[in-house]
């Protein structure tokens, strides 16, 4: 299960809306081992594409270094799908390689509501999990 604050949840949705129709992506960092996301980090989509995303490798290096220095880890890795449902694609699954992360997908295909779902992706196996938003 993913437990996430209302504020972080809303920041992800706002980022996805702002970058629509391109895919938006980013990370929520949290204390290592806590499984609680605490810090919102919007990342550049180096592809600037409606169908693909990739973290800029230089930015990723700096962000991962900073997390390491803070004794944090990527608790959530999020990205948006802008014309399809919020479910991991084949490409998403083949790239997923943070075994401890919750993979959050947001779909912005409907203007008035954002689909917000969370998955574990391990060795190519996708498991959806409930999301609890804490006010």
């Amino acid at each position: 299960m993913l437990t996430i604050s209302r504020e972080l949840h809303d920041q992800i949705v706002a980022h996805a809306r702002a970058d629509h129709p391109d895919e938006a992506c980013g990370v929520l960092a949290g204390p290592a081992g806590s499984d609680r996301p605490a810090r919102f980090i919007a990342m550049d989509n180096a592809e600037r594409s409606p169908t693909f995303y990739r973290f800029d490798s230089g930015e990723q290096f700096r962000v991962w270094q900073q997390m390491d220095d803070n004794d944090e880890e990527p608790v959530v890795i999020y990205h948006s799908h802008t014309a399809t449902q919020a479910y991991p694609s084949r490409t998403d699954i083949s790239y997923a390689s943070e075994p401890n992360a919750h993979y959050v997908l947001v779909s912005t295909r409907e203007e008035d509501q954002a689909e917000f779902r969370s998955f574990r992706i391990l060795d190519g196996v996708v498991t959806e999990e409930p999301v609890t938003v804490v006010e």
Partner: protein, 92 residues
């Protein structure tokens, strides 16, 4: 002195859980070959027939080696090589 190599969580099964390991070589390719001696299986996760796998980012100090010379990038004692999983995906 040696070259320090930082290993991401997903590949620590090859390093007995170690976050960083040490190796030697004159190029990145030689370094990965040297690591393979003590950490069997690691090289294959980093390199395929065409070069660096697209699923990983490798940095020499703070520079992505794709912007240097890839596997032929020269390395030396005191350098730090960092491996991170590339984060990417898409609709299809």
């Amino acid at each position: 002195m040696a070259i320090e190599v930082r290993i991401p969580t997903i590949l620590r099964t090859y390093t007995d859980g170690a976050k960083q390991v040490e190796g030697s070589g004159a190029t990145l390719d030689e370094l990965f070959t040297d690591l393979e001696v003590r950490h069997g299986g690691l090289r294959e996760r980093l390199v395929d027939a065409k070069g660096l796998r697209r699923f990983v980012n490798v940095y020499l100090n703070d520079e992505d080696v794709r912007f240097l010379s890839g596997l032929e990038t020269p390395v030396k004692d005191g350098d730090t090589v960092t491996v991170l999983p590339a984060v990417a995906g898409g609709t299809r």
